[in-house]
């Protein structure tokens, strides 16, 4: 895994200009927070509140309108090539390449890192096996179930051994059992590898089950609440929910925002 570094978000703002109408759309109002290396963070917020936009800037696909995101003192959007292999994402849909086998899909990120071919194959094989797909190396995406495809996507992300792993509603479209199983695996693997993990979700309950910390975004994105979960037990879901709602109330924020 690449060296752990904190993610520092300062005065971040993003305004899109609609190509057709020319209208300005504020996707991110203002964000300030810091994520420590190795933290597992859930981001919740209404649809359209700028969560994916936050990821786009974090990955370096978009530049902020104002403010910055720095990882280890460098900005991903300013140093796109330097960040190759340091951040990997699992998307809402699996986004596998339909013309590639499971193995070759996992190889994609490694090809971009320029690893020797034997090593690409070896490592891809390893990660697919770890995700229970050792028998499906040569299967094409259309031959796999939705859950299996998402496992391939997870293997693809982990195979590049990134310091930061992102999941953008990666499990929302799967049935509940599969979803929670995959989520747990994702978080477990991130922890085992000492990586920082940031997961976007729509649901507070899901966020509570995920990690150390919940960030609640308003719309357009501002930080409504920053709740640390350390100290709560696994069965404290109700307690946590109360705590989060209390936090929202102290900030005079309608808890219904989250539904």
């Amino acid at each position: 895994m690449s060296a752990p570094a904190p993610i520092e978000v300062a005065g971040l703002r993003k305004v899109y200009r609609q190509t057709t109408t020319g209208e300005a759309v504020t996707a991110i109002q203002q964000l300030d927070f810091r994520i420590e290396p190795g933290e597992v963070v859930a981001i919740v917020g209404q649809t359209g509140c700028g969560k994916s936009t936050f990821f786009d800037i974090l990955i370096g696909l978009e530049a902020p309108t104002a403010g910055s995101i720095e990882i280890g003192g460098r900005t991903p959007y300013g140093d796109f090539d330097g960040f190759r292999g340091r951040i990997a994402t699992v998307f809402q849909q699996d986004r596998l390449l339909p013309w590639r086998s499971a193995l070759d899909n996992v190889r994609l990120g490694l090809e971009m890192l320029g690893l020797p071919e034997a090593q690409q194959v070896e490592r891809s094989r390893e990660w697919l096996a770890r995700l229970g797909l050792g028998d499906f190396l040569q299967a094409y995406p259309h031959e796999l179930s939705g859950g299996m495809r998402q496992r391939v996507a997870i293997a693809r992300a982990f195979a590049v051994q990134p310091g930061i792993l992102l999941a953008d509603e990666a499990f929302g479209h799967l049935d509940e059992v599969t979803a929670s199983q995959l989520r747990d695996e994702f978080v477990g693997l991130a922890r085992a590898n000492g990586a920082t993990a940031v997961l976007i979700t729509h649901q507070l309950e899901e966020a509570i089950g995920i990690g150390n910390r919940i960030l609640v975004f308003g719309k357009p994105a501002t930080l409504l609440a920053d709740v640390r979960l350390d100290g709560y037990g696994a069965d404290d879901t109700a307690l946590l929910r109360e705590a989060i709602q209390a936090t929202l109330q102290t900030n005079r924020i309608d808890p219904r925002l989250l539904q």
Binding site: I59, L61, F80, D81, F83, R84, G85, I87, A88, T89, F91, Q93, R95, L97, P98, W99, R100, L108, G109, E111, M112, L113, Y140, H142, R156, V160
Partner: protein, 252 residues
């Protein structure tokens, strides 16, 4: 491969029965002496055998095929190249879109006299008509394939750190491949058409020249034999391209 994809190209029992039925009807109508221009199919086959034995068909066919291969390869290389460039670079697209659309719907046979003026009455004209007939459908299909690349896959590639060249090679190109192959398959049929049209208009060499010659001298059975040969060339070429398509696009 899905069963449906298999069925649409392999000649199944139904297809074979249809062809045999058609031949039977042709034979009966021919024997009923409906028209001078409809000889029995058995006589056509006899004439066909004759043209094969005296070498006429091979001589004309060799000249035709040479022009076909040259023109088609040129159209394939340039068509795919131009289609890819148009798909990836907005500037190229704006420059060429109007031209391609205009020429694509233009009656291309009308251009042959221009080609004759350009090249003289030579077999180069046939190569040029083959090229013209095949180029546009190849270019346009390639363009459509590149433009049809899923945005979400491109974004995924970027998220994994792909630069423009890598995106093109690993995402756009393989994503466009089925459409490119479809263009090449439609293009080869167009190319055969272009070959015959070109040869008929310059009336110098090839199967097209034989068609004109037999037509003018009312050698109807020979005429049909040549037409069937052209048909056979078109079918074989299209099957060849389809075989390549199947070998290259195994994931559909």
């Amino acid at each position: 491969m899905t069963p449906a994809a298999k069925r649409d190209s392999d000649l199944g029992p139904t297809g074979l029965a249809a062809i045999l039925g058609l031949l039977a009807v042709w034979e009966i109508l021919g024997r009923l002496d409906v028209s001078l221009f409809l000889p029995p199919v058995s006589e056509v086959f006899v004439a066909w055998w004759g043209l094969i034995r005296d070498g006429t068909l091979f001589q004309a066919g060799a000249s035709s095929l040479a022009a076909l291969v040259k023109g088609y390869l040129l159209a394939a290389v340039l068509g795919v190249g131009v289609g890819l460039a148009m798909g990836r670079f907005a500037v190229v697209r704006y420059l060429l879109d109007g031209w391609i659309n205009a020429l694509m719907s233009a009656p291309l046979s009308a251009l042959v006299p221009v080609l004759i003026a350009l090249f003289g009455i030579r077999d180069t004209v046939v190569v040029a008509t083959v090229f013209l007939f095949a180029f546009f459908v190849i270019a346009v299909n390639t363009l459509t394939g590149v433009r049809g690349t899923e945005r979400s896959l491109v974004e995924m590639g970027r998220a994994f750190g792909a630069g423009e060249a890598t995106l093109f090679r690993r995402i756009y190109l393989p994503s466009a491949l089925p459409a490119v192959m479809l263009g090449l398959r439609l293009g080869v049929v167009q190319a055969v058409k272009g070959m015959v049209v070109g040869e008929m208009l310059i009336s110098l060499v090839g199967l097209g020249e034989r068609i004109i010659s037999y037509g003018n001298t009312f050698l109807v059975t020979e005429l049909y034999a040549v037409i069937l040969s052209v048909l056979l060339v078109a079918i074989i070429c299209s099957q060849l391209v389809q075989a390549c398509e199947r070998a290259l696009v195994r994931w559909k």
